[in-house]
Amino acid sequence: MIFNMKVKRLTLCGLAGVLATLTLAACSGGGGETSTSETTDASSEAASRSGGVDVQIDGSSTVFPISEAMAEEYQNDSGKRVTVGVSGSGGGFKKFCAGETDISNASRPIKESEVELCAENGIEYVEIPVAFDGVSVVVNQANDWATCLKPEELAMMWEPTAEGQITNWSQIRAEFPDVELGLYGPGTDSGTYDYFTDATTGEEGESRGDYTASEDDNVIVQGVQAEDGALGFFGYAYYEENKDTLKVVEIENSAGECVAPSSEVISDGSYNPLSRPIFFYVSKSALESNPAVKEFAEYQIDSANEELITEVGYVPLPDDILTKVQERLDTAKTGSIFEGGSSVGVKLSDKL
């Protein structure tokens, strides 16, 4: 019994010790914070907010690889601290419009509701396209009939009324064989899904419900590899990595030509309507008060860093658009060129 008492005391002491270190650490953390905020530079406000971070980024998982590559190199060059979170385009805007982040990544333009939220909180932003992505439509390698599809034919497969009705390739075009159609696509939360449905069916975020949805594009890759009559879509990078095991479908563009996705046609706009810009949004106040944010934003659209974008599987902006984008950042032009709408059918070079 006395023995037990000793053991008990030991555990109690241990617990007290843990708690003491906890409070100590918390105190020292607080101390560090006040010392940084003593410096009058306004950027220390951002720094004190989250333990000495210079640039805080959050948002789309599609844009994440670009931010990661840029942040990695920028940190090596400048010694500044950049952090990137992945809470999705929508989740990113929620934090951005609450003033919690400096830069928000998005695979789609800012939505009307998000524009309002930002306005309510007095957050002004500069919209910067950073690269192009080509939504790639792929089929199984055994599929030798679907070489070129029209957007209308994709719409036939994917529109809400197709649910339970369009189940066979022969229903899409009379000359297609009698093979069961299996559809694979990203989940309804994804920006790629929003863009694809908008570009094909004309209704953003509206599609049939009976397709295999996955948040992980690699699952779509595997699904299409395994089923003869399968068709799926995802970002260009996933097609590039799986070129050998999948067959890409050419898309008939507005000029009536059949085009397969490649970096050239994605950037010059002839891979329409499935070529889409991806963005980051910079808070105007962070841009003005925090030199690191401005530096990093410029770094991301510096033509010298185009290689990083290619390396992670996206298509850099062509030079004429890049110049306009750089000008936009320099003059800190706020607002969205899409006015809350989608980026389908919008020519960046005209609008910027």
Partner: protein, 307 residues
């Protein structure tokens, strides 16, 4: 205990006894069938586990190296490492353990030993049991509003402290319930003996009941912490990061954890990143096993002491 008067047993049903079919062979057969069924259940569980582990080891082992542990995330799969995630996990789990263990065990002891049986404790009990089944993302939303936003001056926003508190909330119900189960397994005669000798409730709990219950409590804590270490959703909700290339400097630092890093690598298109994810899973497994080994070691010590 359940038979009031053993003399009456059997004597009031002589007719049944005469109808009783011994059928020993049949009963042994049933026994064997049931035994093999339970074995099949074990075998299936082990087979699934073994397949998963072998698959992960095959993909991930070649990638494991000191560099992998000591590098920060990178766009280049062969240079990418999980230093920040590993440290983040260790920091967060320390906070989770330090917060959830005393709170959970304390609440369990109060409810089981001190609180009377009234409507208030019954409501609390029902609520705790229900909370154990709430999806983890709900805790993430709660953590985002309470710890990240309302308590920002204390927690520093999207920090280790907020993440630790959120996960601690998530596993509190599990710890409370298992603490209560462990205390309930201690025979009442011990308590009564203590009271009979004039000990008060605090003395009885502290000297007799709690030491006996500690092994059971630690088992529950192991299960709870194992759940916390692998949970991603609430941390993503409160705004844990994915790319961070410096180590936490205090409890208010931003952070990432192993499951988030693994999740990110799994969803990348490049195959090399998938191997990184497998290696990350191995590291996560080792951390989990180390953590549990500590708890098992403590439990065995207490078990020896108590007996």
């Amino acid at each position: 205990m359940t038979i009031d008067n053993p003399q009456n047993f059997g004597s009031d049903r002589p007719s049944e006894a005469s109808n009783f079919n011994i059928n020993l062979a049949g009963r042994y057969k049933l026994d064997r069938i049931f035994e093999s069924l339970t074995w099949i259940a074990v075998a299936i569980a082990l087979l699934v586990l073994a397949t998963l582990i072998i698959d992960v080891l095959a993909d991930g082992l070649p990638r494991l190296s000191w560099d992998f542990l000591n590098n920060f995330p990178s766009r280049k799969p062969e240079q990418a490492g999980l230093k920040s995630a590993l440290f983040g996990t260790i920091w967060v789990m320390s906070v989770v353990a330090a917060v959830s263990f005393p709170l959970g065990v304390g609440a369990g002891i109060f409810l089981e030993e001190f609180a009377g049986d009234n409507w208030l404790t019954r409501i609390i009990e029902i609520n705790i049991n229900n909370l154990a089944g709430v999806p983890s993302i709900i805790y993430g939303l709660l953590g985002l509003q309470v710890f990240v936003r309302y308590m920002e001056p204390l927690t520093g926003g999207r920090s280790i402290l907020s993440g630790g508190f959120t996960l601690a909330l998530l596993i509190l119900p599990i710890i409370i319930v298992s603490t209560r189960e462990a205390l309930r397994a201690v025979p009442d005669s011990l308590r009564l003996a203590g009271f009979a000798l004039g000990a008060n409730r605090w003395q009885v709990v502290r000297e007799h009941v709690f030491p006996l219950a500690i092994p059971g409590i630690l088992t529950g804590t192991i299960l709870a912490l194992s759940r916390a270490i692998g949970d991603t959703a609430p941390l993503i909700t409160i705004g844990a990061l994915t790319f961070i290339s410096f180590l936490p400097e205090g409890l208010q630092s931003p952070f990432t954890v192993l499951p988030i890093q693994v999740f990110n690598w799994v969803s990348r298109p490049q195959r090399e990143f998938h191997d990184n994810a497998a290696a990350g899973i191995i590291v996560l497994m080792v951390v989990l096993l180390l953590m549990n080994a500590t708890a098992v070691f403590l439990r065995n010590r207490f078990q020896k002491k108590a007996s």
